[in-house]
């Protein structure tokens, strides 16, 4: 479904040159979920932005459905690939109602029966019709992210790019959104690329994943391997370690809390 070959993204020139992504390649099958894991500055989000045209492709190729993407991307591309952003507080227009937000993509692509499609989209993300005319400030973080997902799905894309879709949310809301994403993928046969710093989230949603560091691919592995704690790379190992919570190196005789 998605083929990234030797992708390179460079910002600026000369002394200001930043190699955000260096020679990254991976392949995602239709209907699969692929994770990109790394810390800030690892280039994981830049890969996502380069796929959808928000970042320049300096070198290498991006193929969607066997077709190399054009710059600028055409309307057909946007009907195939959509994105969900990290911060639901920033990704919805503050002056637009849910209705306006959801009808915008339909209007751009000249789709008919907007009314039914909007209600359908709301239903898919587990929101009722009562949400249709609300403004973003009348919604909670989780509800906003559901609207953002509905907006991404309303054009019936095949690929969904997820940029840290739950990291701005509370743990209990994160669980709801992860369940929703899991469920939608199965029902609509979507292909996901998920960017996250949280190994557990990636392992939960994706089958395969790529660990990135300083713009380079460090290791491609599977969730199953992560779960069994198998990692050939030291960096991956340290990420697994960190995701288990805090560990005291040498358990000192810590002062007993006023016994």
């Amino acid at each position: 479904m998605l083929d990234i070959q030797n992708l390179q993204v460079v910002y600026g020139t000369g002394r200001m040159r930043v190699d955000a992504v260096k020679n990254v390649s991976f392949h995602v099958e239709p209907g699969a979920a692929y994770g990109l894991v790394g810390e800030s500055g690892s280039g994981k989000s830049t890969v996502l932005r380069a796929i959808c045209g928000l970042a320049p492709i300096t070198n290498g190729r991006v193929l969607v459905d066997g077709q190399q993407v054009t710059t600028p991307r055409g309307k057909a591309f946007y009907r195939t690939v959509q994105m969900v952003f990290q911060d639901p507080y920033a990704s919805l227009h503050p002056r637009h109602t849910v209705d306006r937000t959801l009808s915008e993509p339909l209007a751009i692509h000249g789709e008919k029966d907007g009314e039914a499609r909007i209600l359908q989209a709301l239903k898919e993300v587990g929101l009722g019709p009562s949400f249709r005319f609300r403004y973003p400030h009348q919604l909670s973080g989780g509800q906003r992210q559901r609207i953002a997902i509905a907006r991404a799905l309303i054009l019936r894309p095949k690929v969904l790019l997820l940029d840290e879709p739950t990291s701005a949310l509370d743990a209990s809301v994160q669980a709801e959104i992860l369940n929703l994403l899991d469920d939608l993928r199965r029902r609509l046969g979507l292909t996901y690329i998920l960017v996250s710093h949280d190994l557990a989230v990636v392992a939960h949603l994706c089958e395969r994943l790529l660990v990135m560091q300083h713009g380079e691919a460090v290791e491609e592995t599977t969730s199953a391997a992560l779960r069994s704690g198998v990692a050939t790379n030291d960096y991956t190992q340290s990420l697994i370690q960190a995701s288990q919570g805090f560990t005291r190196v040498a358990p000192q005789p810590a002062q007993a809390p006023a016994a």
Binding site: L54, Y78, V81, M83, D87, F133
Partner: protein, 312 residues
């Protein structure tokens, strides 16, 4: 972090409940609800309401000038007996050197003032908005070219440029309006550009881009609405200055031409009688002052509602 939602003190009823409904049933209800919240915030500021009252009064007076004015604003009375009379029961604000009733002239002058204000707002705001948003959103050489043009216009003092314009096009109210409009858009372009630069890189703009929206669609449908509120505030606050500029042009004889009852021109004629017949100049002066004040108060109130960042 202060989010424990507690119910409002009193249960809203009827119309208010409908307006404040967290689940609006239609586009209109959502919009009206928003408007109502804005009005509630606005009406909490008594000075702003006074300002709104003054502006509404100006509009009403302009509409019903024919009904309100007791005399003709153009043709005066008997030049021998009714010239330069002090305020009295017959002539509430006195008469001028042509024996015309000053009150009637001020009432009719409100039309001229309103005409200027509305026309300048209608010409300058869209130009400023468009130049600012396009330049901010597109960036690059478009931004450079548009902003340098803006800089050129900004560099001229408003009254002087207006003077030059009127001198070139000939005196008259229409030319004065064009001159004022042309000199007042650059600050709006700057504001719109600054706002656009903040909005441009936000996720919600990236999201519409990813839906395949065209650049004009993004600018008009998504960027402009967010710039509009701070611009409305600025334009309202500028109105006082525009009225003064128009009055200044009238005073210099370059704006409205006699016998049109323009407040600035009225002050100019009253200048000759300032010591003995003070009311001839003072009455239109007070009108200019009150209306300018009204627009300023209104602008302040609007700023508190529309632009919470700038408030306090």
């Amino acid at each position: 972090m202060t989010g424990a939602p507690l119910p409002l003190a009193s249960e809203p009823s009827g119309m208010r409940a409908w307006l404040l409904s967290p689940e609006p049933h239609s586009r209109w209800q959502a919009r009206l609800g928003r408007f109502y919240l804005g009005w509630r915030a606005f009406s909490r500021n008594p000075l702003a309401v006074v300002g709104l009252g003054i502006v509404l009064l100006l509009i009403l007076v302009a509409i019903f000038a024919d009904v309100i004015a007791p005399y003709s604003p153009i043709t005066g009375g008997d030049l021998r007996t009714e010239r330069l009379l002090p305020p009295s029961e017959t002539y509430w604000l006195g008469t001028d050197d042509q024996a015309r009733d000053i009150f009637s002239r001020i009432v009719h002058g409100s039309r001229v003032t309103l005409f200027i204000v509305v026309l300048v707002a209608l010409i300058a705001t869209p130009i400023g908005l468009l130049v600012g948003t396009v330049s901010g959103y597109l960036g690059g050489w478009v931004d450079t070219v548009l902003m340098r043009i803006t800089d050129i216009f900004l560099a001229f003092p408003r009254l002087i440029l207006a003077l030059a314009f009127v001198a070139a096009l000939g005196p008259g109210i229409e030319n004065a309006i064009i001159a004022i409009a042309i000199t007042s858009w650059p600050p709006y372009a700057r504001i719109a550009r600054a706002e656009t630069l903040m909005i441009r890189n936000s996720d919600f703009i990236a999201a519409v881009k990813l839906q395949g929206a065209s650049t004009p669609r993004i600018i008009l449908g998504h960027v402009v609405p967010l710039c509009l509120s701070s611009l409305i505030v600025r334009v309202t606050l500028d109105m006082a200055g525009i009225i003064l500029t128009a009055a200044g042009l009238g005073f210099l004889g370059l704006g409205a031409q006699p016998p049109m009852p323009e407040w600035g021109a009225m002050v100019a004629t009253g200048r000759n009688y300032l010591i003995d017949q003070w009311w001839v100049a003072a009455m239109p002066g007070i009108a200019i002052f009150v209306v300018s004040l009204g627009f300023n108060l209104l602008g302040d109130g609007l700023r508190d509602v529309l632009d919470p960042k700038a408030a306090k």
